[in-house]
């Protein structure tokens, strides 16, 4: 029943120069550990840019009013310190009884791109990469297949044989991006807007893979915006300057729309193609359009249920 070999196996083998070998091994292990510490020393740079308070910060939905105030004060001070700009970061909450939807008149949009530019400025996007939440696709007339389109068109618009399809976050009622997030850093609020807690996102970019509308952006580098160009009217869940390494997206300018204003892309549109409003308001313009116009929903077959519509005259 019992094995016969155990007793000899139970102790360390007697090696003549055991002590010397142990010392040599120890020395190499120390050398290796030292080399490792040197190799990862650039991390100290990264640590300098992030505070202990930021590291310990809880999820947005779990912050008490006091904690929120502290976080916002810290973020404002950081913007001052790192960008030299005095900004106000509010915590705009949904207005009860509101469900925001957006519509674009494709018969009118002429591809001038003013919305793209307005978004870039309003939302404090990185200047270098010319980031924006909106892409406009120039499409040949006679198709709705985006394969035929181009986002890199140039020259005078509109061209006779083309029409223009602006795409941004569709604020889906069944958002795949929210489902896939492993840490609940992104969610849908009561007024329909899908938001991101930039201080909770771990930067795995699964949401970017899941979104069928190319609506999400990742901060591949620390955004750079000159102090005088920073939009100081900010909100925690929308256009405050984002940290590096996290995902962001269009929020229907909630720092404006939750205060009764219109999104920046709509205000900038010279053609009047954009209509925004509260679909729960029976007298709203948007409600009338959706009830009376021919409406097209982008990738409707995917079942994402967008709160974003295209219509034709």
């Amino acid at each position: 029943m019992t094995t016969t070999e155990p007793s000899t196996k139970r102790s360390l083998p007697i090696v003549e120069n055991f002590g010397r070998r142990a010392a040599v091994k120890g020395a190499f292990a120390t050398l290796g550990a030292g080399a490792f510490v040197a190799a990862i020393s650039p991390l100290r740079q990264a640590a300098k840019n992030s505070s202990a308070a930021e590291f310990m910060q809880q999820h947005y939905t779990e912050l008490s009013a006091d904690q929120k105030a502290d976080v916002i004060a810290r973020l404002e001070a950081e913007t001052k310190e790192q960008y030299g700009a005095d900004v106000t970061i509010a915590d705009d909450r949904p207005i009860p009884g509101t469900k925001f939807v957006y519509a674009i008149n494709l018969s009118v949009c002429n591809g001038n791109g003013k919305c793209v530019e307005a978004c870039h400025k309003e939302n404090n996007h990185d200047r270098d990469t010319n980031q924006s939440y909106i892409r406009v696709i120039e499409m040949p007339k006679g198709t709705m297949d985006m394969e035929q389109g181009s986002t890199t068109y140039s020259g005078a618009v509109p061209k006779d044989d083309k029409f223009y399809l602006p795409v941004q976050c569709q604020q889906c009622d069944e958002p795949p991006c929210v489902d896939v997030c492993p840490v609940k850093a992104t969610w849908k609020e009561e007024d329909g807007i899908v938001v991101v807690d930039y201080n909770w996102c771990i930067g795995c970019r699964y949401c970017e893979a899941a979104c069928p509308y190319h609506a999400r952006r990742f901060n591949w580098k620390k955004p750079e915006v000159p102090a005088e160009e920073i939009n100081p009217n900010q909100s925690y869940l929308s256009n405050r300057v984002r940290p590096v390494g996290v995902v962001e997206k269009c929020t229907y300018c909630l720092h404006r729309t939750r205060r009764g204003k219109l999104p920046a892309c709509l205000e900038a549109c010279p053609t009047g193609a954009r209509v925004f409003g509260n679909i729960l308001d029976k007298d709203s313009n948007i409600r009338w359009i959706l009830e009376n116009k021919r409406v097209y929903i982008l990738k409707e077959e995917l079942g994402t249920k967008p709160a974003f519509f295209y219509y034709f005259d």
Partner: protein, 422 residues
């Protein structure tokens, strides 16, 4: 010392003269000592791996400090070399189960003697998976947000949380199985089946689950037609059962040569016979996928077109793809030839394994991840070629994985050289 008072049939913790509190640290110390003993060639090998690992660690630290702009990923191709390698390594980890099944379900004695090689490979591969995921995170400092309890874990909705659970679970299972067997060996006691056989059985199911869940990460995304196929999980498993056994065969040929462990030829033959079938199943599934794509046509086929022939003049992946197809078919033909199992054709067998391994790496790595993003969801074609930084980090993680595997095999050598009697 040698008198064992507890009955071998006892299921509770056996009584010992020495308690586990003191003998377990001695076991760890002895394992560490054993793992760092070796020839000059061994030290050279470990030094090279350490150097490569340090280069990777440094590149990663720079990536964290400077932002992921150092990679060539973009908002169009938002996953690249890291996730490609992650996906492949999950397969390698699952592939080790092709030793466990013959050993424990079919009671193949020879396989049973060396099955620990497959389990140790699973440990090394999972460690690499976790490192590749961490390398891909924009904010590794917020890793704790994913910890259940203190973070916010989006389970069961997010497939990524499932993956976190199954991968870590598989790691723990294999650590337990290998650790228990080696510890019993150190104590000179016969392992009690109650303490490891149920876990081995669980690990078989678990191995299938890790690669299925990893496939579900991709195939559940409606916006990515290239991934959105029910065939993805079976394909992942088939290719895992090519790459895993292929790696193990090559490793066993090497182990036999370097350490004189005997009794490896029969397990090698068994694994080669497994690859002979799995490699054909994998090719069949690829062919089935391609038929569906190209015969149907339409915009659904754009990604496959990009992968095989290029799209709008963009052809970065085309040479990779055809290399993989060439390697896979050549390897499949070699495995079909019965002579490959003969001892004198060992180098050819290893070559066939390397071809199958690299073929699977391309097919399931870059060949699967990148076309998911090209064309993008708005049908833009933005290409991706990994940056030097990404290659450094990747090589560093591979070096670390090989270090873990080497040390693990070293620790298990006494068991491999003198298998316990049955």
């Amino acid at each position: 010392m040698s008198s064992i008072t507890a009955s071998p049939q006892s299921t509770g913790p056996p009584e010992e003269h020495e308690s586990h509190v003191t003998s377990y640290p001695r076991f760890i110390a002895r394992s560490l000592w054993l793992a760092t003993e070796g020839s000059l060639a061994f030290y050279a090998w470990m030094t090279v791996l350490t150097a490569l690992f340090l280069v990777g660690a440094n590149a990663w630290a720079n990536q964290v400090a400077g932002g992921m702009i150092g990679t060539n990923m973009t908002d169009h191709v938002s996953w690249g070399l890291y996730i490609a390698n992650f996906t492949f390594m999950v397969g390698l980890a699952a592939g080790g189960v092709m030793m466990v099944i013959p050993a424990y379900l079919y009671h193949d004695r020879k396989m049973h003697d060396v099955v620990i090689i497959g389990e140790l490979l699973a440990i090394a591969a999972i460690v690499m998976c976790l490192l590749f995921v961490v390398a891909d995170l924009g904010r590794p400092d917020r890793f704790w947000h994913m910890l259940p309890g203190i973070g916010k874990f989006n389970w069961p909705i997010s497939m990524l949380t499932w993956d976190v659970i199954v991968l870590n679970g598989y790691l723990i299972l294999n650590l337990h199985i290998c650790g228990y067997l080696l510890y019993m060996r150190f104590l000179g006691r016969k392992p009690n089946p109650v303490w490891y056989v149920p876990f081995v059985m669980l690990s078989i199911v678990w191995a299938i689950s890790i690669h299925t869940v990893t496939a579900f990460l991709y195939c559940g995304l409606g916006g990515r037609p290239f991934w959105n196929t029910a065939l993805l999980a079976p394909r992942f498993l088939a290719s895992a059962f090519v790459s895993g056994p292929a790696f193990i065969i090559a490793a066993m040929v090497l182990i036999k040569k370097l350490t004189g462990v005997s009794g490896l030829d029969q397990p090698i033959a068994t694994l080669a016979r497994i690859v002979r079938v799995t490699i054909l199943i994998n090719l069949l599934m690829v062919a089935s996928e391609l038929f569906t794509e190209f015969y149907t046509g339409g915009s659904h086929v754009s990604a496959a077109k990009y992968l095989f022939f290029g799209l709008h003049g963009k052809t970065a992946l085309v040479p990779w793809t055809w290399t993989a197809i060439g390697l896979n078919i050549t390897a499949a033909l070699l495995f079909l030839w019965p002579g490959l199992l003969e001892l004198r054709w060992r180098p050819l067998l290893v070559a066939a394994c390397c071809m199958a391994f690299v073929g699977a790496w391309i097919e399931k790595g870059m060949g699967l991840i990148v076309p998911g993003f090209i064309p993008s969801t708005l049908h833009e074609v933005v290409e991706y070629v990994p940056s030097q930084l990404e290659w450094k980090v990747t090589v560093g993680i591979w070096a670390f994985g090989l270090m873990v595997f080497t040390i693990a095999i070293k620790t298990a050598l006494p068991t491999l050289k003198h298998p316990a009697e049955h």
